[in-house]
Symmetry: D2
Subunit: 155 residues, 4 copies
């Protein structure tokens, strides 16, 4: 089990590249999000529940849910691209399936198709309680475009 997990992780170089990029995103730090897993074609981001990310009923705001889902997909795409590439989100669509309850939410971005120019990801967000109970609270689909590392892009 431990071995399997190890095997699934991206290379140290890829993990560093993803983490460094993430650390430059002011919004992720401001929300309190952190990356918890970086596998080839799959990245997990966790966001603890707290008043600063809530909507009017105290659940996690759809905007925060979407923000970490979008980022998880973007970094999942990045794990499969060459060192000097970056990605930009072209578009995404997300269904909010249930109130984002739980002690934290976990977004999982998974690459469905990695092409020369475009990457398509599946986005899932789970509400997770500290006792381990998990529930799918959002599900989405995202299109990204590969750009040169200066963020200029050919979009």
């Amino acid at each position: 089990m431990e071995d399997r997990k190890q095997q699934e992780q991206a290379s140290p170089a890829v993990r560093k590249r993803v983490q460094d990029n993430f650390d430059r995103q002011g919004l992720m730090a401001h929300l309190g999000a952190r990356i918890t897993e970086i596998a080839p074609g799959r990245v997990h981001i966790v966001l603890p529940s707290r008043p600063e990310v809530s909507q009017q009923h105290g659940f996690i705001h759809a905007g925060a849910t979407s923000a970490i889902a979008d980022s998880a997909g973007g970094y999942a795409a990045l794990t499969l691209l060459a060192d000097d590439s970056e990605v930009l989100t072209v578009e995404y669509k997300i269904n909010l399936l249930a109130p984002a309850v739980g002690d934290h939410i976990e977004a999982i971005g998974t690459v469905l198709r990695s092409g020369r120019t475009l990457t398509v990801c599946q986005l899932e967000v789970y509400g997770v309680r500290d006792d381990g109970e998990r529930k799918l609270v959002a599900n989405g689909q995202q299109t990204l475009i590969r750009v040169s590392g200066d963020g200029g892009g050919t979009r």
Copy 2:
């Protein structure tokens, strides 16, 4: 002109209801967003650019762009519903058309169709410079469902 603008505003009761609801959303305050216009079927939300809402190149993060677009649509829907109703976002789709540059971004949610159960909104986000230059940076479409005021919902 002044008259037209006045006429376009929602009633004081509706505006209060929208503003009160907005003020209970921890995320909007945490991001630094504020409502700037509440018309029947249309709401504007502004978010100033600052490091706390940025992505890795210093532009406003797609997650922040989406969050205020989603909220603008939700409140636009709310302006057309009875007093004891609330809305939940069922889903939305957003295209990020250009880097969200500018001194602030402005999201405009506009109701396309207001039905008994569902409301469909158009979402637009503009990057705005202090000198007044505006550019469309995101465009989306959103579906919302009316729920009873306790946030329970029949989704």
Copy 3:
């Protein structure tokens, strides 16, 4: 294996209800589509490749791909609802991942969440060659609303 398949099928009453509804859709017959599997929360629709459903390069047209994907999701939703219910598509989003090549395409609609009012489905379309090779050519997500059986609906 045979048992498993049997088990997964919807009840004869549900299958009849789905098939009867499908048979009343002029478009499905006109395209040449047919239902190949009706399981609880999952329906498969197959469309053979032929000039009448092609785009300009001879691949199956995205419009035909989408049409059977949308129908597969709608019928998947219907399998989980009471006898006197129908569903209407509220919206869907689909990514065309690759040219829809193959001797036929197979759309699979799977219910992700079945609520009192709304159902959310995942849509997949595979290009299938007669030699059995399969490739995912489209992936989507769909929202449906339950309506009374006269098609009136509360949308």
Copy 4:
């Protein structure tokens, strides 16, 4: 008025290119769709109501509605690209706002943003009665990618 209309039409070369491409789409002919306007960045496609394009209540099937909306957007994109370019639909999202009633439906694809690689279009579909009454029945948003003229593509 006549002048305005004239002015808005695309050049004869562009119109020929669009029409020729359309004429090679087996599905459009099979459905009975035809192009009625080709302007720079905007194309209209009309589909008459008849049993062959219906769903179970006799309204035009969402699949047919989507098919002509997708095509209208694709051709709108094509009007703004160089002669040797083609476009492929990357993805689209469409809300079905009301039953597609009327004697025919008219899809209008309008380019929102035309970039080097990607084009984003707005999609609208109206139900139109012979007496001229029009109603918005669907609204969508579409992303397309420019490819070389052999349909190969860099997607």
